[in-house]
Symmetry: C2
Subunit: 356 residues, 2 copies
DNA sequence: GTTAGCACTCATTTGAATCGAGTGCTAATC
DNA sequence: GATTAGCACTCGATTCAAATGAGTGCTAAC
């Protein structure tokens, strides 16, 4: 008995040898294709009769003991565990970053609104990968004011246009009781821009405000009005992070996700922005790094049967957001990773160009 | 045989008598609650032993022959047919329009962007009704230009702000080669506004354009630039109608919609804006009218097991859109209709107020 | 170390039996 | 003539057991 224990393989085998890796990969690849547990005979055929099914069985037994694969039930084949996927993904991640394929007509040209680009991008990603795609609007880490413009758009109504670094434009129309002549309005614009341009919201302190009010003279009230609206605009924007999803219904293409209970849970999660923030929020670590969360790794309950691949994009000047792909654990990691890398490159290029 | 045929009831009974109506309503109400076919005994109990189950059975048999109810299979109870629902809904629609309940904190105050309001509204509706909600951004039937503003936001970059009737604001930043002094810019703004304000896009004809170019003198190129961008902005907006959906996953609460096949189909439809346009697009008939499409009535394949209730909202000046609720055929029409009416009122009030 | 062979396991499929909700019809009753 | 009690019948849903077969672990032979 105890003698037997010494002979147990798993206890000893601490590293994956060549053959185990081949077999593990074969299992994962097969499972990706079919979504069904894969048995020893299948693998035996798959590896071109290098080893018999019995040998494979022994190795699989080892692999199971080591935690790379699991058996859904006694008389079924094996499926990769989270650890197994992790091994596989890590291998892919180490591969060279080359091979930037072409993404079809990204149509970034002459679309003025970033939001619209992001929506289209999400749709494109979902369609290309057949998984659910998710993309967060940019967070502006440093909201520098670039330009302010007041205009009288109606009797008693003022249009405030706020342009932030990165050409993010916000408008507000506010009612105003004070009457301003054209000239006063012009002066006010000059006053605002000369005092505020290039500042972040934090940098606008009391000293600056009181100086402006002093300069504004009888129209100090307008200064207050404008500042409170600027503050609100910036705040609102950093507050409710926009998240666009697309292709959520792709999950119905994968039986293991589409039973009623799971599908409902997953789709609800994708619908409610709140939880998604946890997915895209936790960046800051890997720079433009791509991250892969397999199953429980993502901390989001409803995603425990999924894998989530996220990538951070950056459009210069600290304007960055996150793109994510959500699919079954057996997603085609190679394709997804490649696609994401491509998109990042394109996005980067497109906006660098527009910047010029 | 043929003598028997003369005695057949359905052939004669052309109108619904009092009792049939009571029973039909009871069937519909019951089915709404449970989602299960309802049998004669259930109804018998439901109507407080006014009639026995046998009587009910006879009446149900008649009702079936008249097409108001159907039997899913021989030994099951009855469920309302589209015609049955139609009868029921028509009754409700005739009821008085009173009882405007209170919708919780609509938060329309100080939200500047219509889009954001609409999204929130959709969410609110979905949560309140437990069905899927859908809301289309406004179509501007008459896009009158209200105000134009050019600003130099960067060296070589021009910000064009376009304000349309109804305070719809659009921005574009365009690169420009020509240099304009501050004074020239001011003049250009005056030129643009004096010539274009109050015009719709169709009204800007060649005569106006050439007159403007003449006035602009050496900067005629800018006029062209601005006009092409304005045209694009307006066009883009009327082109891709925005549609926001919310609570799509509510359909999982109704077993008759949530089998895999149907749920997938329905959710896909809700995800793809294209088909939804057919739902909200076909307005123009009833003014602020509320419309109810039951089952096949909606012409959208995927909705054949649903009912769709749409209402057109109007925010003055020909700015109108559509709100829709999508649920199972057995949706609580009364509640939905009441909710929609309330929302319309509130929306109206909120924007009338803002207008002031 | 590898492999053939075999007993064993167990989810899934299949089909028969049973159940029961609900109907339609007939005959009795009001 | 309208209403109702009673009963035979239908048919989806449920239950249960047997059959199926993919896949394993173990042993013994190569």
């Amino acid at each position: 008995m105890s003698a037997n224990n010494f002979k147990r393989k798993g206890v000893r085998t601490v590293e994956l040898d060549e053959r185990k890796i081949t077999i593990l990969k074969a299992i994962i690849k097969n499972y990706m294709d079919t979504g069904e547990p894969v048995g020893s005979r299948t693998i035996s055929k798959y590896v071109e009769s290098k080893w018999s099914s019995a040998t494979i069985r022994n190795e699989m037994s080892d692999l199971e003991e080591m935690g790379y694969i699991v058996q859904p039930h006694t008389s079924a084949g094996r499926i990769p565990s989270d650890k197994g996927y992790r091994f596989y993904v890590d291998q892919i991640l180490q591969e060279k970053n080359s091979e930037v394929a072409e993404i079809q007509e990204l149509m970034i040209q002459r679309v003025d609104r970033l939001e619209s680009v992001l929506k289209k991008l999400a749709k494109l990603l979902a369609r290309d990968t057949n998984y659910a795609a998710l993309i967060s609007g940019p967070r502006y880490h440093e909201n520098k004011l670039k330009f302010l413009q007041l205009s009288r758009v109606d009797e008693g109504k003022l249009l405030i246009v706020t342009v932030l670094e990165g050409n993010l434009i916000k408008n507000t129309i506010v009612p105003v009781t004070e009457q301003l002549s054209d000239e006063e309005l012009l002066n006010m614009n000059i006053l605002l821009n000369s005092n505020l341009n290039g500042l972040t919201i934090e940098e606008i302190n009391l000293e600056i405000i009181s100086r402006m009010k002093q300069q504004a003279g009888s129209h100090a009230g307008i200064v207050d009005l404008v500042l409170s609206h600027v503050a609100e605009v910036i705040h609102a924007d950093s507050e409710d992070l926009q998240i666009y999803t697309s292709g959520a219904t792709n999950i119905f293409k994968y039986p293991e996700l589409s039973d009623n209970q799971k599908a409902s849970e997953l789709l609800s999660t994708l619908e409610h922005t709140e939880t998604l923030k946890d997915l895209v929020g936790g960046d800051e670590k890997g720079e433009t790094g791509i991250q892969v969360y397999i199953g429980e790794e993502s901390q989001v309950q409803a995603m425990r049967d999924c894998s989530v691949v996220t990538a951070n994009y950056e459009l210069g000047e600290g304007i960055r957001g996150t793109i994510g792909i959500i699919g079954p654990k057996r997603m085609d990691y190679e394709k997804v990773l490649k696609t994401l890398r491509t998109v990042m490159t394109q996005l980067d290029a497109a906006f660098k160009k527009e910047e010029r």
